[in-house]
Symmetry: C2
Subunit: 423 residues, 2 copies
Amino acid sequence: MQRRRKLGRGVAIVGAGMSKFGMFKDKDSRDLFVEAYNEMLSSVDKGVDPRDIDALYLGNFTNDFFMHQGHWGPIISDLIGLAPKPATRTEGACASSALSFREGIFAIASGFYDMVLVAGVEEMSKCTTEEVTEGLSLALDEAYEGKVGFTFPGVFAATATAYMEKYKGATPDHLKMVSIKSHNNARFNPKAQFNASVRDIMNSRVERAKKKGQPVPTWRDEMDFLHDLSVNPMVAWPLQVFDCCPISDGGSCMLLVAEEIAKNFTNNPIYVIGIGQGSGRALHTKDDLTYFEATRYAAKEAYESSGLTPKDIQFSEVHDCFSIAEVIHTEDLGFFKPGEGYKAVEEGLTRLDGPMPINTSGGLKCKGHPVGATGLAQLYEVWQQLRGEAGERRVPKKDLRIGAAHNLGGTGGTCSFNILERR
Amino acid sequence: MQRRRKLGRGVAIVGAGMSKFGMFKDKDSRDLFVEAYNEMLSSVDKGVDPRDIDALYLGNFTNDFFMHQGHWGPIISDLIGLAPKPATRTEGACASSALSFREGIFAIASGFYDMVLVAGVEEMSKCTTEEVTEGLSLALDEAYEGKVGFTFPGVFAATATAYMEKYKGATPDHLKMVSIKSHNNARFNPKAQFNASVRDIMNSRVERAKKKGQPVPTWRDEMDFLHDLSVNPMVAWPLQVFDCCPISDGGSCMLLVAEEIAKNFTNNPIYVIGIGQGSGRALHTKDDLTYFEATRYAAKEAYESSGLTPKDIQFSEVHDCFSIAEVIHTEDLGFFKPGEGYKAVEEGLTRLDGPMPINTSGGLKCKGHPVGATGLAQLYEVWQQLRGEAGERRVPKKDLRIGAAHNLGGTGGTCSFNILERR
């Protein structure tokens, strides 16, 4: 019935940048954006005149609440001298900048513009953990989820419990394997908030104890280390600290142009070949917590618009706000069958050198999760991988050509899934 | 140098709805949206199956702050059974839903979608005036405007002062003439928050005094009435209460489709023929407060994309958050020369029966200004006028064919200007 959804005009990425992610008391949203923007400009190897940028889309989620500042579009457009050209903020909770990416694509594909800057920024670490928890709860449905007491760790703990109840083989150890795998990747990501493996962290604790003359811990391996509640406290059963992404500050951006002019800016553009977005219903309407309908819909749209299937995706960034989210989303995206995501982790299929590398950047868990900047930071990782610029964390496949990025907002309210290609 | 910006695929409006605007303690954002949505559905005279809607864009500005609820896209998509289809929130302060309108247009013009719902909603009256003032200040640039103590009445009072300083003939009475004219139009708008003329209001005060046996006021005319500080108190010189839009709740929406299928839904679609958006810099960078660069840029884009000039626009809704804003914007949009907007009001050119009717709906001043709903509510007025459905406030021109709507966010940070046509 439904005609195949496709763009009337192709869109390519010709530049990308990302600030270092972390907790920076001395940087505000403007600083974080500029750090990403300057890298983006220098990544356009044939050069670009910023005066040719037609418009800006900016993803931001919580600055109204945390910083008493909404209306970020014109602030950033003013900052980089883009004004009086248009600047639009998109907000889809933790998927805010993936939505900016999409609107930038539509604006070019519509024929109206040729070059659009898309960006995301978020500044969170100046707030207390309690304030962050309250601010992020703006992404919940206040009437149906917030008022019954849910916070995000609680929602994803319930999700993990439901998953383990449905798929009896799945255990909290599988969630820890996700974290160990992601930390192994983040070790090679200099911009990650935690660029160390779990073994590195474990060893540093041993060294510290030795230096201080304290009793030296005798953890057998990473899993043993993560079982130790004194180093990995419980947050909401079965989620421990290492199952949860941190509070982060960061900025990210990309320069999009019409496909036909992409080679004017770089010999190595990355093409947008599939776009997908979905929305999800509040938790009280769900019959089953072990899948995300928004992700499934976004995946369907992206696969249909690209003409690809999950088998064609060679690696992907997947929204791992909590370890369980990565497991479930790899199923919803069709990389693994329902109930087999946890086995894939156990078998090492999602490792950097596995057949389906997931979160080569370290994911939200290790790279950090400045919520409004995350969507484009995921796409930045795919861009770096496809351009062969991911350094030691490069996916070791012979013909790396197609990668994807999946971004979630709220308890599943918004999902974006986009597929990129190197030609 | 710049190629002419135009859409690769035409877009038409086939349905529109607007809730009554006002202060409704018993209605929340969901209720206000549904009121607009139901009217929109019934306005599609050949019928539409809501299951054919491909996506939603929703404008909202302050609900994060006022209602502790962000991430409105999926909430509304859930409410009307659109989920799991995509839903995106746009935020550009008081221009939030005009941005949704634009993104809906791009999504269709890109070829990706055929039918998109665009909407706006805002719920403000449950807050105190102090809370509303603080919430709306999220639209200011906090670093450069907020921290020096500006609020919106202050910004526009400074704007009015600068205008009267530059154009010596302009006086506070000209601002009152804007309000008198808008109230005359709002008298015929049953959905307006204040659907009464200033004379009606004046007469009702006289009647009330008589009934209560109080001394009967002896105002000579509307202007005399508005000079009386006991009924029209000073807010920020030269702006009095009747120069300021009220605090309002409301919802608005439109159904957009690809031009080639518009006649499947109605014999009387309204076509989008020009779109424009601009952004503006913070006040401290301005050399002159008497124009809005965002408006001028948006106008340039809309005229260029439509191939029209200001002379072709037969009537327009213009963002009159304060009376001075309407005067200046009618200049920035090219309807009158700089410094002649106030004369146009004095000469009655902007009256309903004048050559260039402005704010036939009553404008923000009288219709109300639920900020996130305003942009689409302005377009709703243009839709009603062009379809001949504006009742007693119909613009009395022989061949009413082209109207426009202008929406501003912040101190001039975001501007949207769109031109519609009946064919």
